[in-house]
Amino acid sequence: MIDTGENREASCDVLVIGAGFGGSAAAKICADAGLTTILVERSENVGEKIISGLTIPFHGFLFGPAFIRDGTPPIERPVDGIENYIIKDIETNDIDIDDSLKVPKPFSPVFAVGYNAYCKAFCEWEAEEALQSGVQLKTSTTVVDVIRKNGRICGVVTEHNEKIQSKIIINAEGSHGLLAIKAGVREKYPPDTISLADVYVYDMDKKDIDRIFGFSLKFCWGWDEQKVAPPLGHGNGLMVWPYDASLHLMQDQCLRKDEGPVYNVAKALKDYHHNITSKLPWWRDEVGPRVKLKARMWDGFEIFVGLNERLRNMPNFTDGMLLIGDAAGLENTELCDGVPTAWFSAEIAAEVAIEAISNNDTSAEFLSRYNDRIKAHPIIQWAITSTNRYNLRYAQEDHDEKKLKKYIHEGWGIGFCMHGSTPLSKIVLSFLKKDPLVIGKWIRMYLRYYYNWHHQHFEDASTAVDPGCKKDALRLSAGLRFMDRVLSAFGPFIRLLARLMEPLTEAANPLMKVVFPFVSPIYLRLIKRWDALMEPLSKRVVRAVAASDPSIFDVRTTWRRDT
């Protein structure tokens, strides 16, 4: 007899809905704190319904849940920068390039600005981590409604009429928010805040990707009349992500512009794909002949929600329930990558859930501290209110090339430091204040991630080493040990420095705005020559990392040594 779960009842301390990037992280943190935690997921296998072209930015890894930073998640390729193709006329190949956002050598490619990943593999890894912490995972389980007791949400009902009672719910159901709408907590988003993403995945030889892309993403931006990418400021644009041995091409467009008519997106997306693949020189001549279509898929997700005051202020908590990630409107409006904000909010929600259960109070009044912490998180607030992507529409309206280049430079070029310096410096200092040794964990994370990607080995760390580079690997190992000693010795000083510098962080963005116009042209002129000079050292760093004993990147080992 098939067990449909009908009329069964289960109970737990914390119920997490949705085993996506945020859900599994929240569940693991709660379980690690000793709470009985159930994680429900509507798909049969975790991650098989999550669609994205995906670069998870560095700040998600550095400042997100420690188990991800200190772990071995499956990544497809480190990213060291972005090449922006500004297409003024596709027919005459009148195209400018802004490739100013690039990690300089010898830090590139080991020290990345982000990591590409397949959603399914990554989410499976996170769910596996949650299971190891004692989370009970229920897949193939669609939640259809909440259960209330005295007006307070205290559980859910599944499609099989199974009731799961819980002290608190962490809702990680994603953009559509069906459960939150049904519970009367949030509203359906308007079509101008929903972008329809059309994703093509191509197989490509790794050597060809290394040669054509290296570690850089390629973004394409064109005037609307060029019909090579979604309208400026009304969707993401068109992007190509290099993975290990495949490419992701994603184009996405909002369903309508402001209050205007709904676009014929089905036709438009086909046209962009045809035009870009048949007319853009590097795709037509270099990529096109070397790829084979492996998958095509699409999904709708929120965009620009944080720029609309009414939508931004929709509740992210209620009696007995906290909402995280996309379910709480925490997409990254500029990068269109909601993973870091999902992780940050998952961690905050888990902390609040633990406090609420410990205080035996899951009332909205108690849970309001979750909203306070979300509002105080510098990266979340930066992510949901950045305006460069949205502002591209004004460049189109005025057909102003200068404006177009400015927004691209400040959004996906080195100019991002004029609006990113304050939030980034705030969060860095907040971490250093708590634990100066975190610097060692950050550096080891970069080295471990690169090592794992290089060897395509994400579970067992024992891999053959290259004897030719053993000397450099030993130097690297000695360098890390030296770094640990320095950090331990200067820890109190670093902590004090972080405290002293904290009040200055508000001045970081204004300062960059003043300095940047003078410094930037000099930097960009020198960096190409610098990179050429540093190329041999960069290769040496890569060889040393790849030839190392991976245990030297293990943070837990280091912790044991420190303590």
Binding site: E44, T139, H176, L178, V199, L255, V262, A266, M297, G300
Partner: protein, 89 residues
């Protein structure tokens, strides 16, 4: 039986979803917004009303639901473990 389509490689559909998207013909205004945004070509207009031809190629993106100004389209998740799935998202 699990379905796939040649023009949508890398994606499979597990049957048994139930009618997770429905159109109320009395409320539908025939604006065809759903037809314009559905990449799975699930919709058609018949007698000035939106009709779901088939949900076989639906990827649960919700676009039709978002653009339905009259509220005629109801959207829910398919039954657990059914609907589309992919390794490459």
């Amino acid at each position: 039986m699990i379905r796939s389509f040649k023009d949508i490689p890398g994606v499979e559909w597990v049957p048994g979803t139930g009618r997770f998207i429905t159109v109320d013909p009395d409320t539908c205004t025939g604006c065809a917004n759903c037809v314009k945004v559905c990449l799975g070509e699930c919709y058609e207009l018949t007698d000035k009303k939106a009709v779901i031809k088939s949900l076989d190629r639906c990827m649960e993106c919700g676009a039709c639901w978002y653009v339905c100004e009259s509220g005629a389209i109801s959207f829910s998740w398919p039954k657990g473990g059914t609907g589309f799935r992919t390794e490459y998202g």
